[in-house]
């Protein structure tokens, strides 16, 4: 297929808005008479509020009100009204509901004032007396209590197959190990914020940081008993979210509550410290037991996952499905249990479950390969899975072998000496490690609307989000390609609840889902245009069918005789000055679900570890990706680079520290919660291998938001082992663990 826009490394169409500051984020929409709210967070992890005294705060000039559970308005009764689209099973947390404290840093009051600083000061004057109850936040100490939840919000772990216990017992080569990572917080650059504009008629216009305006819209209308038409949610730009914006956060609830009570516009913005007061990647421990034949055939695989959740919701994620996607094994047993603690409910964080599961899976496989004396790639090729064994389905496409081949070649893997501690440079031990991974390539249902006006300008819209991934750009490319227009002639609109429905931007499915809807809407416009073009006087297309023509450069012309055609504007002049409007809802094609659909990655890493001091540098990374058709190599590469950088953080830095005495996460700012800085990132190369897939969606494209991260941390851990001979099974790998 000849393309003009798809496949081009197009710059972000919103890039200029972003770098000039024209792009506005939820906390930046200013309206007259705006008031500011600041949340008070609980000091304790569990107990009751005996007394909450707001009198000192209220005395400060400019303070409007302090909302607490004592003076809040009546709430709608049913629990289910507080369930947002991404709520896991359980009873969602309701801010200011009663005097109960369920986790440390729980919002327990909102001070509202004329300025942000006044509100913050007032919040500090709120005096709280607690009746504390013993809390339990100690994950390790409670693993024995782990339970199988009534319902998994991810999916149920696949049922066992084969004879996993027997096969393991009989396997001549075995390993059994535990792998852990602690809680991690998303920390997007933009803090969560909501600006709630109170309109003259009591309707609300809400600017919210969210990964899908429809979720905010549903949540407000349900939780506050409002009619759909009374609320409009707008969110044109999101300064990163990584899953933290899948669920409406408490600043939204508090801002809406305050605006309705005060009949005034209110903004609530969280501080960086408060960004640690809600969802996070759950602390997880995994036991892996693997058995193999002497020749390196995987005979048995058992994975038991223990993950943290809150006392009020059972959050789970897909940690156990990756072995069945990546390795061929006839005897498999998988389990996923939860440990409920006095913390807030965990929340999807970039490649939820995948980052966690792949880390342990790929480290354990490296251990097994080492024990077998096999090269890690050779071992993986030997146990390459040609179908998804979890669901016993063929893959829609899987060019993972090509990822190994091209990645290994670029990296120079052939020159690797397999023995640990065999490569050095002065004080530094050099290690080369690799790992591979997969991530879902799903498509969901979405709607889009395309409007072509008589001047040949096209506007396409859908209530999706751009969380920095490049949605604006890619949708513009898809629309321009379909109708043969210049990028400049196309405008894509998103982030507005009045637009056609779209799902949350999460799970790397936006290009697939919304892209397909955009394409379908534009295809419909294409049909109409073609009919109009045939009506043009003396139209060279009169006898042609749609298949015989191409849409290119603003022209509709004969495929075989490109010089003969009709311009789009000429065709439009036959529409009585009206625009063409098409709105479609697109669904995955029938039969798609007969296939397993995944993107794949192979990551190669070089580390240098100071032998005496334990400091680690990730000096080289090659990430080879099989992600279907690449719509925009530039934004695609950015996604993978971001994933690699984050993977470095997962492997070596990210760690939210729980103080079990206080039941509180303690390193709640970016000085103490480490993510990689530029100096931590050296050479990173990204390869996209060619992959054709006609099943995954009509575009042939797989999402790339998450595949970039999954295999990075295990590749680093494996490289550290290769460098030092020391296996660190608890992330992050900090220097103390290597002394």
């Amino acid at each position: 297929m000849k393309t003009n826009e798809i496949g081009k490394p197009t710059n972000r169409v919103d890039g200029r808005h972003k770098v000039t500051g024209e792009a506005k984020y939820a906390g930046e929409f200013n309206v007259p008479n705006l008031a500011y709210g600041f949340a008070v967070n609980s000091a304790i992890a569990k107990g009751k509020i005996k007394k909450i005294d707001t009198s000192k705060a209220l005395q400060v000039e400019g303070v409007l009100e302090v909302f607490t559970h004592e003076n809040r308005p009546g709430y709608v009764w049913f629990d289910k009204n507080y369930k947002d689209m991404d709520a896991p099973p359980g009873s969602p947390f309701r801010p200011l509901y009663d005097n109960e404290v369920k986790f440390s840093m729980q919002p327990i009051a909102l001070a509202v004032a004329e300025t942000f600083e006044l509100a913050r000061y007032a919040a500090s004057l709120v005096e709280v007396e607690y009746e504390t109850s013993p809390h339990d936040t100690d994950f390790e100490a409670n693993i024995e209590r782990a339970y199988v939840p009534e319902e998994y919000n991810s999916g149920e772990p696949p049922k066992p197959w084969g004879q996993p216990d027997e096969a393991l017992a009989n396997a001549p080569v075995q390993i059994e190990e535990e792998y852990t990572h602690s809680s991690q917080h998303h920390n997007p650059m933009e803090m969560h914020a909501s600006t709630v504009v109170y309109e003259a008629d009591g309707k609300l216009t809400v600017y919210d940081k969210i990964q899908g305006v429809m979720n905010t819209h549903q949540y407000i209308t349900h939780a506050f008993g409002m009619q759909p038409e009374e609320v409009q949610v707008i969110s044109p730009f999101v300064g990163g979210a990584f899953g933290s914006g899948l669920r409406p956060q408490y600043q939204l609830f508090l801002a809406v509550l305050a605006a309705r009570e005060l009949k005034r516009s209110v903004r609530v913005t969280l501080t960086r410290q408060q960004m640690f007061s809600f969802g996070h990647r759950p602390k997880t421990m995994q036991r892996f037991a693997l058995g193999a034949s002497k020749e390196g055939k995987l005979e048995a695989l058992q994975q038991d996952v223990f993950a943290e959740t809150s006392r009020f919701e059972d959050y789970s994620e897909d940690v156990v499905i990756w072995a069945g996607v990546l390795y061929k094994c006839e005897n498999v047993k998988l389990s996923h249990k939860l440990v409920d603690l006095d913390v807030y409910t965990p929340l999807d964080m970039r490649a939820p479950g995948g980052t966690t599961g792949t880390f342990a899976l790929e480290c354990s496989m490296d251990e097994l390969a080492h024990k077998l004396g096999m090269d890690p790639i050779e071992f993986r090729l030997k146990n390459y899975s040609e179908k998804d064994q979890n669901e016993d389905k063929p893959f829609s496409s899987k060019e993972l072998r090509e990822c190994y081949r091209q990645g290994a070649e670029k990296f120079g893997w052939k020159k690797r000496n397999p023995a640990p501690r065999s490569m050095r440079e002065g004080h530094n031990l050099i290690g080369w490690g690799m790992a591979h991974g997969a991530w879902e390539a799903n498509q969901a249902q979405a709607s889009a609307k395309a409007v072509l006006t008589s001047d040949g300008k096209l506007t396409v819209s859908s209530a999706t989000a751009d969380i920095g991934t490049g949605t604006y750009t890619v949708m513009t490319q898809i629309a321009a390609e379909t109708l043969g227009l210049q990028l400049d002639d196309v405008t894509f609109k998103l982030g507005d609840s009045s637009l056609p429905d779209a799902p949350l931007e999460g799970g790397s499915k936006t290009v697939s889902t919304v892209g397909t809807a955009v394409k379908s809407a534009c295809d419909k416009v294409r049909e109409r245009l073609f009919e109009l073009a045939q009506q043009v006087e003396g139209s060279p297309l009169a006898e042609a069918s749609l298949e015989d023509v191409v849409f290119e450069g603003g022209q509709i012309s004969l495929r075989k005789e490109p010089s003969k055609g009709v311009s789009i504007t000429a065709a439009m002049s036959h529409n009585q000055g009206k625009a063409i409007e098409e709105e479609v809802s697109s669904k995955p094609a029938d039969g798609q679900s007969d296939y397993a659909r995944y993107a794949h990655s192979a990551t190669f890493v070089e580390v240098k570890v100071d032998e005496d001091l334990g400091t680690i540098r990730v000096t080289r990374v090659v990430s080879a990706i099989a992600g279907g058709r690449i719509i925009n190599p530039k934004t695609a590469k950015s996604q993978i680079l971001g994933g690699v950088v984050w993977g470095i953080g997962v492997a070596m830095e990210e760690d939210t520290v729980m103080d079990n005495n206080l039941g509180r996460f303690m390193n709640h700012d970016l000085d103490k919660y480490h993510i990689p800085v530029n100096a931590d990132v050296h050479e990173v190369e990204v390869i996209f291998v060619e992959e054709k897939d006609e099943i995954v969606n009509p575009l042939g494209a797989k999402g790339l938001g998450e595949i970039g991260i999954v295999s990075v941390a295990p590749a680093i851990a494996n490289a550290v082992f290769h460098a030092t001979g020391k296996r660190v099974r608890e992330l992050p790998i900090t220097l103390d663990k290597l002394l």
Binding site: A43, V657, M666, D671, D680
Partner: protein
């Protein structure tokens, strides 16, 4: 933050008067530490005395052949000053190992010495902390203490002093010039910062009415054999787990004088002159450096998460002294 009043001092005497006029007043220089702490209510001054317009922003020669760093010279200007780079490269390196370019452009030399600990609990007003709220208890001793001290601790506080610059100044035996109501005095660097003892809320021996006016560097700069080795959890923009300022005066392979100061391990930059003296007149060898390292961690005590610092400090001292001797490429 709490509301405060603000004045800009026009000379040192005025600054001292202003800061003494109200009990809860504070100087503000670059503001890179103070403002952060004010926003989270850890520092709650009622009055701020802005000293940024005082004429303390130059670097000058001293009569003793050293350099005088005005208290308001920025960290960046100090690190890149031609004479500092040439005669006190240890100090340049230490400064540049700290914070970020943007912060160093704002941060002043006086403010750097006065920056407060980075203990997690000190930063969170909902937790007990003797340094922030005397008598409330120390959450870190039985809590999370990976970043905290192993030397000179007390049962009341195990915080560290976070400055890198101060570690180099300790090794160089700088002097701190201060002015207060009672006039001017000079505080030797080793006496400037305090150990926590039972008054962990007092970081330094500067009196409440005193202002730092300058830091004097002695003539000897150890420019031929020095290193600043900073070990941390990421390659930049992180405080030291352990840092070492090492300086050697060598006669061939024989040590005439050695200086070793540690950061990240105590409530003040840590020096043990007797341990440094072990090298005097001895060959600069790994074995001898090892002895110094052992002597430095004598009596060191870990609190669980930070136990590793004892071993790390030893290895870092040896590495730093070797680097200082060889002047080979840095880590």
């Amino acid at each position: 933050m709490r509301s405060f009043t603000y004045t800009r001092a026009n000379d040192v005497a005025n600054a001292v008067d202003e800061v003494s006029a109200e009990k809860e007043s504070k100087f503000i220089a670059g503001g890179t530490n103070l403002l952060d702490l004010m926003k989270i209510q850890v520092e709650r001054p009622s009055h701020l005395v802005d000293i940024t317009r005082l004429a303390l922003d130059t670097i000058e020669e001293t009569a003793e052949g050293g350099l005088r760093l005005g208290a308001l010279v920025t960290n960046a200007d100090t690190a890149y000053h031609e004479q500092v780079e040439k005669r006190y490269p240890l100090l340049s390196h230490a400064i540049l190992a700290g914070a970020t370019a943007q912060l160093r452009n704002m941060a002043t030399d006086g403010g750097n010495l006065m920056q407060r600990t980075r203990c997690y609990y000190f930063y969170d007003t909902d937790t007990p902390c003797n340094k922030r709220e005397p008598g409330s208890g120390c959450s870190a001793i039985n809590g999370y203490n990976r970043d905290l001290a192993i030397l000179g601790t007390s049962e009341h506080c195990i915080a560290t002093h976070p400055s890198d610059m101060a570690v180099a100044l300790a090794a160089l035996e700088a002097n701190v010039r201060v002015t207060g109501k009672a006039g001017e005095r000079v505080i030797p660097f080793s006496e400037f910062h305090r150990l926590p003892g039972d008054t962990p809320h007092i970081d330094t021996n500067l009196k409440p009415d005193e202002i730092i006016t300058a830091i004097d560097l002695p003539a000897k700069g150890f420019a031929d054999h020095y290193t600043y080795l900073k070990l941390r959890d990421r390659a930049s923009y992180a405080f030291a787990l352990v840092s070492v300022a090492a300086a050697l005066d060598l006669d061939g392979d024989t040590v005439k004088e050695a200086r070793v100061a540690l950061g990240g391990v105590a409530h003040k930059p840590w020096r043990i002159p007797e341990a440094e003296a072990l090298l005097k007149g001895k060959p600069a060898t790994r074995e001898n450096f090892q002895k110094v390292a052992e002597a430095y961690v004598q009596g060191a005590k870990g609190y669980g998460h930070n136990d590793f610092k004892i071993e790390l400090a030893k290895r870092a001292i040896v590495r730093a002294l070797l680097q200082a001797k060889e002047m080979e490429a840095k880590l």
